[in-house]
Structures are given as structure tokens and as C-alpha cells.
Amino acid sequence: MIAAMQRQTRQKLIKLGIILICFTLLASLLSVVIRYKEMLARTITNQKTIFQNVGRMRLAAKDADKTVADFKSLLPPAYGTHTPEWLVYSRIDDLKSRLQATEMVIKAIENKEGMVAVDFSATLPLRDSGTYSRIINLLGNQETLAFPFVSVRSVQVDQSGSETQQALKLVMEGVVQMPAPQEVSQ
């Protein structure tokens, strides 16, 4: 009787062993599947990010191109073909011809803080209010130009001469400067 019972117990133990092996294998497979699913979820999230980033990169590239194009539109035509010194002197020449100063002092070219700069001062007679406006507008216009930059440091308007023959003069100081040579792709 006991032998028969033991035989049955052994058979049941074998069945339990088979069930355990199946369970272990399937549980391991489930673990792998869950990890794969998690990895897939992460990949999907990454792909979504890539999808969004592709759009953003296109926009960013377009923005960058527009920025570069806008910037280039501000550059003078001679930019890139001439040296900064040439451009600075060209602007000085332009100022000289436009201001029609009675006296214009131009200092030697300097290279400071990565900029090529030429200081200048000019004395102009103010015969009437129209002249004052013209000079102010001219200086304002010059300041809006880029590469090289004109920067007016001071303006002084004085009366000069005797009481009977008083005349107004405008003395201005400024600088024309340009970044030191850099390569800008055209």
C-alpha cells in the first residue's frame, strides 16, 4: 500500500516538476517580453522626440538661414572683398565728402579689442538751422549703417566770433570702427 502511494507521490512530483519548469520558462519569457515592451515604449518615445525634433530642426535651419540672409543684407557690397582698414577709410572718405567740414582731424588707425578703429573729429560751421538739421540727419544716418560702424562720441555747438559777427560752429568727435578680419561665408 505504501509503495503504491509512494509511486503515486513520485508521479505527482514529476508532474509538479514539469509544471515548475514550464512556469519558470514562461515566467522568464514573460520577463523578457516585458523588458522588450519597455524598450519598445522607450524607442517609441524617442522616435516621437525625433519626429518633433526633425520639424524643429527644419524650422531652426530656416530661421538660421533667414538670420544669415538678413545679416548679409546689412553688409556693404564691398564687405568680404576688401580689408577692414579699406572699409574704414572708405567710410571716413564718405563722411569727409558729406560733412564738408572746415577742419577734419583723422587719427591713425588702431586695433583694439578686436576692432579696427579710426578716431576723427570735425569742425563745421552752422550757417543756418537747415545746416544743423542736415548734419544731425547725416550723422544719424551714418550711425545706422553697419560694417563699418560710425559712432559719434560727442557734439558741441558753440557761438564764436565777436558780438557783432557771431557765428555758430559744431565740433564733433567720433570713431569709425570695424571688426578685425573674420571669415564670413558669402
Binding site: M5, Q8, T9, K15, F23, L29, L40, I44, G140, V152
Partner: protein
């Protein structure tokens, strides 16, 4: 809900009753009378979850012993030790017992226990067909114990000490009960079913024997499975569960008793080795079942995850960008960024240059309304970092100083009206009415 089968080994046949047992009900499914050979066929086809066996062999020994009053947990061990001590000559046996009660003898309290001793060899023989067919036997009870359960659970005015008679056809079993415990049994041959004169004489003789030998006088006699038994039997009508036919008591009283009134574990006669092996098998079965359920769950989860992964892969394929497109976008972006990086320092210079306050811009915005007697002799605008310092000098040839001062203040007010202008020192020299005004412009 479980399907139970009670198998009774009687003198002339094997009687089986199967029943569906729930928490509240007991419904008889079938009642069979089989031979030994038919039992094999029955066991091979029967679907019962558990089997209960009642057996009433002639070589079973019923005995009343006295033990000290001890804790209930110790009774089984003491009874076993006591019976093995008093019957060293017996082969290995199993014991079913019931405590009759405590009494005082010679000033000492003793506990009387009614025991049934059944040889293990016989029990193993009974269990063999069940083991062969892989059926679990949950109890082996002596038939007198099962019948005693039926009697004590039947509400009646029967005396505490009682003689019960059980008709097995060609054999009659007489048992004496005291408080539901079987003190003594006797099996006598009989000619046929029913109680003839000879059978009734045997009952009378047994009652006399009990009084003379056991010093126990049964208060009455009942026939458990006989309708209208003759004297000396008194009427006995057991309660039959509603799911059983009324006549079942005549042929299957022990089965009915065991199903309706389960016996305590102390009256279980299964050999210890069988119980231990069955426990092991039960444990393995429960563990296996648990792992089968867990495996099924794992399979279910695998299927669910499989579907989810398929859906996710479809999503992923729809999201995945062609490598050529990605490469071209990245290249374009890199080139654009390189171009922008190249011009960024120049843009910074441009921005910083244009962020500086403009003297021509300030002079263009200055607007002076005509002020009487105010002559501006000079005007200086000088840039200092992020601000422009403005200074005006001139004369106010007013006869009164107060008038000159008010004109100076008016000039100052006009300067202040310019956006971003902060007025500084205003000085009027009372000697010559010359003035100076300083202001700072910060856009």
C-alpha cells in the same frame, strides 16, 4: 460544492451512496449495492472528490479504557500508548475513540474512553482498490461509530444507555451506546432480513450479558433500520435529510449517518502511513494547482503583451523617419547652424553698436519752444558708456533774478519732457545772469 461517496463494507455486499454536498444541503445522487469485482468498475468511473469508508469487521475490537483526565490534545497519544500496552499481542492496529466522560472511582477522577481497534492489515486491504484508482479516502469509520452518530443526533427521549440493533440481512449487529459512545458490539448470524424470535432472543441475551459482565444496563433497545420492529425494540425514527429518499435508511443507514453527521477526527481509523502519504499528495496537488494557475496567468499575460507589442511595433514603424531624410535634415541643420555661428559674433557686434545711445538721435528729438530772453550759448552732448551727458550754457538777460530763474526752470522742464532725460544741476549766476544746465539721457 463537492461530490462525496460513502462506501460501506457490509457482510453480504458493498453498499455505496454518493451525494452532492454543499454548505446548506445534501442531495443523494445514487445508492448502489455492489460485489467486490463491481467496486473496481465503479471506482474507475466515479467522479467523486472524496471517499468515506465504513467498515464493520468481526475482528474489530471494542473496548473501554480509563485514562487520567488530561488535555484533549494528549488524549490520542495516551489512548494509543495504553492500548498498545494492554494488547502487545495484537498486530499493528488503528484506533478510533470517543470520550464517554469523567467519573470518580476510589476517590480518583478518571476519564473513560470507548475505543475501537482495527487491524492495519485489514484497513490497508480496504484502501488498496482506492489507491489503485488514485482516489482519496478522507475517513475510515467503524460502522457502529457512524450509527451511533445517527442515534445521538436524532432528537428523542431515548435513555443515555441504549442497545442499538443494525440489520445487515444475514448478520445482525448489536451495539451498546453510553452517551453516544460505543461500549460493546456483537455480531450474530441471522436467517434473513427482519427480526425473528431467535434474533429477539439474541437481543435479550445481549442486554443480560451487558448487565452481568459490563455492569451496564441498557435503558432500551432500538432497531436502526427496521420499520415497525417487534418488542423489545422501541420506536426510532431518524431524521433523514430532505435530499434523500425516505427508504434509504433501511439499506444504507451507515452511509446516511456518515454523510449527514460527519464524525470527529478521533474516530478516523485510517492508518497513519496512509494519512501521511495522502497529506504529501495533497500538498503536491495544491502546489501543482497553484503553479498551473500561475502558468495560465503567465500565458495570458504573454498573449496580452504580444498584442501590445504588435500594436507598438506598428506605431513605431509609422513614426520611424527614413534614414535619408534624417541625414539630409541633420546635414542642412548643421550647415545652417555653422553659418549662423560664423556670423553670430558679428551680429553681437552689430547689436551692441546699435544698442549704444545715439547723440544724433538725441539731438534730433530735442525740441525747445521759444523762451523769452533765454539765449543758449553752447550745447555739448557727450556719450559716456550707456548714457549721454547734455550740458547747456547761455544767458537770461532778465531784469529780475526771479524772472531769470523761472525761465531757467522752464528750460529745465522742456528738457525733462524729452523721453529718457534726467535733469541734473541748474545754476544761474546772479552776477551776469549766465546759466548752465546739465542733464543725462538714458534711452
Amino acid at each position: 460544492m463537492s461530490l462525496l461517496a460513502v462506501v460501506s463494507y457490509d457482510a453480504d455486499a458493498i453498499r455505496i451512496v454518493t451525494a452532492q454536498k454543499t454548505r446548506d444541503s445534501l442531495i443523494c445522487k445514487q445508492a448502489l449495492t455492489l460485489t467486490d469485482d463491481e467496486l473496481e468498475g465503479f471506482l474507475s468511473q466515479d467522479q467523486s472528490k472524496a471517499y468515506l469508508i465504513t467498515v464493520n469487521p468481526p475482528d474489530a475490537l471494542y473496548e473501554t479504557i480509563s485514562i487520567p483526565p488530561v488535555d484533549d490534545k494528549l488524549i490520542a497519544r495516551i489512548v494509543d500508548a495504553e492500548l498498545k500496552r494492554t494488547h502487545p499481542e495484537l498486530p499493528p492496529f488503528s484506533i478510533g475513540f470517543q470520550v464517554i466522560g469523567d467519573s470518580v472511582q476510589d476517590g480518583r477522577t478518571i476519564r473513560r474512553v470507548a475505543c475501537c481497534l482495527m487491524p492495519d492489515e485489514l484497513l490497508n486491504m480496504l484502501l488498496e482498490p482506492f489507491i489503485r484508482h488514485n482516489k482519496s479516502v478522507r475517513m475510515i469509520a467503524a460502522t457502529p461509530h457512524a450509527l451511533a452518530g445517527l442515534v445521538i443526533n436524532t432528537p428523542s427521549d431515548l435513555p443515555d444507555t441504549l442497545l442499538c440493533a443494525y440489520d445487515e440481512g444475514e448478520r445482525k449487529t448489536l451495539l451498546v451506546l453510553e452517551n453516544g459512545a460505543v461500549l460493546f458490539t456483537r455480531q450474530v448470524p441471522s436467517e434473513c432480513r427482519g427480526w425473528n424470535t431467535l434474533d429477539r432472543q439474541n437481543v435479550t441475551m445481549t442486554i443480560d450479558y451487558c448487565f452481568q459482565t459490563l455492569r451496564v444496563r441498557p435503558g432500551g433497545a432500538i432497531a436502526i433500520n427496521s420499520e415497525d420492529p417487534p418488542p423489545p425494540f422501541v420506536a426510532f425514527e431518524p431524521i433523514i435529510p430532505s435530499g434523500f429518499p425516505a427508504t434509504i435508511i433501511n439499506e444504507y443507514p451507515a452511509q446516511l449517518a456518515l454523510l449527514a453527521y460527519p464524525l470527529p477526527a478521533s474516530q478516523d481509523l485510517r492508518p497513519a502511513a496512509y494519512c501521511s502519504a495522502l497529506r504529501e499528495q495533497d500538498l503536491i496537488k495544491i502546489t501543482s494547482l497553484g503553479f498551473v494557475i500561475a502558468t495560465a496567468l503567465v500565458i495570458l499575460l504573454l498573449i496580452v503583451h504580444g498584442f501590445l507589442i504588435t500594436a507598438m511595433q506598428t506605431d513605431l514603424n509609422s513614426l520611424r523617419q527614413p534614414p535619408d531624410l534624417l541625414h539630409s535634415v541633420i546635414t542642412t541643420h548643421q550647415k545652417a547652424m555653422e553659418k549662423r555661428t560664423a556670423v553670430e559674433p558679428l551680429i553681437s557686434i552689430l547689436n551692441s553698436q546699435h544698442a549704444e545711445p545715439s547723440i544724433p538721435g538725441l539731438l534730433a528729438t530735442l525740441a525747445f519752444a521759444p523762451l523769452t530772453d533765454v539765449t543758449i550759448g553752447s550745447m555739448t552732448a557727450k556719450r559716456d558708456k550707456d548714457a549721454i551727458g547734455l550740458s547747456l550754457t547761455g544767458t537770461i538777460p532778465k531784469p529780475s533774478l526771479a524772472g531769470a530763474q523761472s525761465q531757467l526752470e522752464a528750460l529745465g522742464a522742456q528738457l525733462s519732457a524729452t523721453n529718457g532725460m534726467t535733469l541734473g544741476n541748474r545754476i544761474l549766476d546772479p552776477k551776469n545772469n549766465k546759466f548752465s544746465v546739465e542733464a543725462t539721457h538714458k534711452p
